[in-house]
């Protein structure tokens, strides 16, 4: 806890290049990971943190090579354990800014337990989960976010299992910042990353990422120009939920059911639309929003679903240590050994 750290905010202004390590980036050509790396490197100078105080931790998978390409401290862990390793880093030195780069298989399958508990404990770290709905590094098996029925190398007749909805999972587990973005929308991705960097508590960002090799185009309806407007709805705090090329379609809440309305039908206006509240205390609306991807014909929400503040595990821990030190006095060897019943032999 007492590790020395440079407290000052950098005087030198970093550029994106300062965050690129000397290692050649080795994802497949066209992989969405390149864009994610670029947006992180572009936004990092504005995190207000010195480079040496940033730590990127990962597990295993294509996404988990990420720390090698960041010129910060980095730890490429083992499959599924990124959140657990990162938790140790953060607790050992709460002044570090800890990031996790992970994938849908790494974080939601083998690492599922660590993920939900990191969310539950609200450990002050940011999890960037690259969701390509496939196992890339092991060459094309289905993942816990693959759509039901998907044909993959390990499901030649289609999967029979239902996918996780990561937004619901993170929200249900207690993450205090939950967002989604797209590898092919650099500006949006940068905004979301910057917001997450400023959040105090566990921030979870699901990035829809294209894997051109094993699951090419799975997100194209959301990312390509011709279809994006009709299939994506941008979540902006205080703004009505509108979508479509002319922003003439909206979402209205009918009880607990979201309904798509046509603003040109003469019966509805923008005033009927659900207005997004990013800071809503109640998670219910997040679940309703997250459900959009489960209802056919509904646009996919992109942006910050919700952020709110509650004490983080690490700050509570630091506080407790300080309180006990205050109450009992800082421990010494003599106190330690002589605290219990002792006797002397002469």
């Amino acid at each position: 806890m007492d590790n020395k750290i440079n407290e000052l905010v950098p005087e030198v202004k970093y550029t994106a290049k300062d965050f690129a390590s000397d290692l050649d980036v080795k994802w497949c050509p066209g992989c969405g990971d390149y864009s994610i790396l670029a947006q992180v490197q572009r936004t990092s100078p504005d995190f207000g943190e010195k480079r040496e105080n940033m730590v990127w931790v990962s597990g295993i998978g294509c996404s988990s090579r990420f720390p090698y390409y960041m010129n910060t401290y980095g730890f490429h862990g083992i499959h599924g354990r990124a959140a657990a390793i990162a938790t140790g880093v953060k607790l050992a030195n709460p002044k570090l800014q800890v990031w996790v780069a992970t994938g849908d298989g790494d974080m939601l399958s083998i690492g599922g337990n660590h993920f939900i508990h990191a969310c539950r404990k609200n450990i002050n770290m940011k999890i960037l989960m690259f969701n390509n709905r496939i196992y890339g590094l092991t060459k094309g098996q289905y993942s816990p976010t693959s759509e039901k029925g998907m044909i993959t190398k390990s499901s030649p007749y289609g999967t029979v299992d239902f996918p996780f909805n990561p937004i619901k999972l993170a929200t249900g587990s207690g993450a205090t910042f939950v967002a989604r973005s797209l590898d092919r929308d650099p500006k949006h991705l940068q905004e979301v990353i910057s917001k997450a960097a400023k959040h105090k508590g566990l921030a979870f960002i699901e990035v829809f990422q294209n894997c051109p090799i094993f699951n090419d185009g799975v997100y194209f309806p959301l990312t390509e120009k011709e279809t994006k407007a009709d299939n994506v709805i941008f979540l902006e705090h205080g703004k009505p939920l509108l979508f479509g090329a002319n922003k003439d379609k909206g979402i209205k809440l009918d009880g607990l059911d979201p309904v798509i309305i046509d603003l040109n039908d003469g019966k509805h206006s923008v005033n009927d639309c659900w207005v997004h509240d990013e800071f809503d205390d109640n998670p219910t609306r997040v679940f309703l929003l997250a459900r959009f991807t489960d209802i056919s014909g509904f646009p996919t929400p992109i942006g910050v679903f919700r952020q709110f503040n509650k004490p983080t595990y690490d700050e509570e821990y630091v506080k407790q240590i300080a309180q006990i030190k205050e109450k009992k006095g800082v421990g010494t060897y003599e106190k330690l050994m002589l605290s219990n019943h002792t006797w002397e032999v002469n």
Binding site: D2, S21, H76, H117
Partner: protein, 612 residues
């Protein structure tokens, strides 16, 4: 009437009763007082695996054994001289362990039809002559307790709960110990409940006075103080000593202690104990599972903490992949394995030494780690410091083996001065010039460069790294170099560890080679054999990987080597394969440690019944 006083060298007492009878508490009070009057001692609790077995049933019996004396005491004693049985089940479970002619103090009030039935007695053993080989002292413990408390307004149940203090008072009288230490303890425990305090103190005195006045007790025993080395002592269990040892290591090294842990029997007390010491800056992270326990510790090690994780066999299995990561990333980490009966859930509350192979080899790939084993509850303190020191100095995972017997057993720990503790130097790398993550020193140890240090930003991980430089490398020759580096680094630890000491003749017919918690029983057996003129030597291993450098020489100097261990021969296999030396085995896998007599008999058998 006059009572005789008989001086005895050592005594083994066992308190036994229902889980709810407070036997552990009674035992530990007797222990504190006994330590205070200056006896050497060793204790072992025996509690049921079930948390709340039905009252009065055989599976609900809880016991506490204490061996104390005026000489050097190494074990909790083979067989009790005295049994305090609070009910028929306690008698039934424990009577088979007693010495012939042992004294049995029974609470006769509990020997009713219901309890006899629960204990599966067809007839009342107090009346059917089955205890004729023992000196049975019937005491109406419950009734005497109730009478002593007649005028108090406590409920009947509350009054009855005091009866263990009657038994304790009686034992204090019998062994000539003062009651004031327990009186004082009761004061601090019940200072907010004056009536309960009064009741317990009164019953303790009543028990003591009962011994003095009643005619059934004719003899008191006197056990003179032991000649222990000068100093200040405290009584510690193995688990407690591990916790203290690592806090001391944290103070000695000047870096904070981090424990990543998941509850598991019999290791949980280490987590519980450490969680009390927040004012020492200790971070105890109770993780979501065993894997997170070790993985968080690895993260903490990366960030500059003295990182440890504790577990037992099943948990060690779950941690193995992560330990491989710590080998690969060359981070300091101590894994404490409190061994229990296995495989699988096995015998969770019982002891065994069968995780040795797992500690040595239980990882994929070439993944050597340092392996140490504690020899006694008090040694758990010192060996924890050693483990921390080696982990940091050599940037390596260290597996520290203890076991259920050490974890719960207790003995006096002589408290060293802070300056006498091993030095643990931590040098975080700060110099930018010439820094490479896998640049090695003369011992092949890489630098510890922690996040927060400007200019040393670097990446580590499970993938093979380029020698020195530390970038990912799939080069075949480089891989072999790195594998060998990691192995040689562990071999270099040998420079750090003391030579093995042989007790007795330095060469000859028979060497007993032991490791771990069997130390005490073997030590006592050796003393007995020495007294009867047997020629046998003993060496005990605390450092297992690497072995002490003189071990090979020692083995050559003895015609026979006998290795007693609580498994089917794991150390024997290690010795054979390392030194090509044939050894004799003595194995026991019953969830219990060796009795002194078992070791003695085996040695005599190996020596050909030859009395020296």
């Amino acid at each position: 009437m006059t009572k005789t006083v008989q001086v005895v060298d050592d005594v083994t007492v066992r308190f036994a009763g229902d889980s709810g009878d407070g036997m552990q508490l009674t035992g530990s009070q007797f222990t504190d007082t006994t330590a205070f009057v200056g006896n050497d001692l060793s204790t072992l609790p025996d509690f049921p695996a079930e948390i709340r077995a039905p009252a009065g049933s055989l599976s609900g019996v809880s016991g506490f054994q204490l061996h104390f004396g005026s000489g050097d005491i190494q074990t909790p004693g083979d067989s009790p001289d005295v049994l305090i049985a609070m009910n028929p089940a306690a008698l039934k479970v424990n009577v088979k362990d007693l010495k012939p002619n042992a004294t049995i103090i029974v609470n006769t009030n509990s020997f009713d039809t219901k309890n006899l039935k629960l204990a599966q007695y067809g007839t009342n053993p107090l009346e059917d002559g089955s205890l004729s080989g023992f000196n049975v002292i019937p005491v109406e413990l419950t009734k005497l307790t109730m009478t002593a408390l007649e005028d108090l307004s406590l409920s009947l149940k509350e009054k009855e709960k005091c009866k263990n203090f009657f038994a304790l008072g009686l034992m204090y009288w019998m062994y000539n110990r003062p009651i004031d230490i327990t009186l004082k303890w009761l004061e601090s425990k019940f200072n907010s409940k004056p009536e309960v305090l009064e009741a317990n103190q009164r019953v303790l005195r009543a028990g003591f006075n009962y011994g003095e006045t009643t005619e059934i007790f004719t003899t008191r025993y006197d056990v003179k103080p032991a000649k222990l080395p000068k100093g200040i002592y405290r009584n510690v269990s193995g688990n407690e000593a591990v916790a203290l040892g690592f806090i001391a290591a944290s103070l000695r090294s000047g870096i904070p202690l981090f424990l990543g842990s998941y509850p598991i029997t019999p290791a949980s007390e280490i987590l519980q104990e450490l969680s009390k010491y927040k004012n020492y800056g200790v971070v105890t992270f109770q993780a979501e599972d065993e894997i997170s326990g070790v993985a968080s510790a690895i993260g903490a090690a990366f960030a500059g903490s003295l990182a440890i994780t504790n577990t037992s066999g099943p948990g060690l299995s779950l941690k193995t992949e992560s330990i491989g990561l710590a080998v690969m990333t060359e981070l300091p980490l101590v894994i404490i394995d409190v061994q229990r009966g296995g495989p699988s859930t096995g015998l969770p509350t019982k002891t065994e030494q069968a995780d040795l192979f797992q500690a040595m080899y239980g990882r994929h790939g070439e993944a050597p780690v340092v392996v140490l084993a504690a020899q006694s509850p008090a040694d758990c303190f010192y060996i924890s410091l050693e483990a921390a020191k080696i982990a940091i100095k050599f940037m390596t995972p260290v597996i520290l083996l203890t076991d259920g017997y050490l974890a719960f057993g207790s003995e006096p720990l002589k408290i060293s001065n802070f300056e006498e503790l091993p030095e643990i130097n931590v040098e975080f790398r700060t110099e930018k010039e010439g820094f490479f993550p896998y640049l090695r020193d003369e011992n092949l140890v890489r630098p510890w460069a922690i996040p927060g240090t400007p200019g040393l930003e670097h990446r580590i991980g499970g993938l093979e790294k380029k020698d020195v430089i530390g970038n990912i490398s799939y080069d075949p020759i480089n891989h072999e170099i790195m594998v060998k580096n990691r192995k040689e680094k562990i071999d270099n630890v040998q420079k750090e560890i003391p030579d093995l000491i042989v007790d007795g003749e330095q060469e000859g017919e028979l060497l007993i080679l032991s490791w771990g918690s069997t130390y005490g029983a073997i030590k006592e057996a050796m003393r007995n054999l020495e007294n009867t003129g047997h020629k046998v030597s003993h060496a005990h291993l605390r450092f297992i990987n690497p072995f002490p450098k003189n071990l090979g020489d020692i083995l050559k100097r003895f015609k026979n080597v006998l290795i007693p261990e609580l498994n089917l021969g794991q150390m024997a296999t290690l010795i054979r394969s390392t030194y090509l030396k044939e050894v004799l085995q003595f194995n026991k896998v019953q969830g219990q440690t060796f009795k002194v007599a078992e070791i003695e008999n085996k040695i005599i058998e190996v020596l050909g019944g030859n009395n020296g």
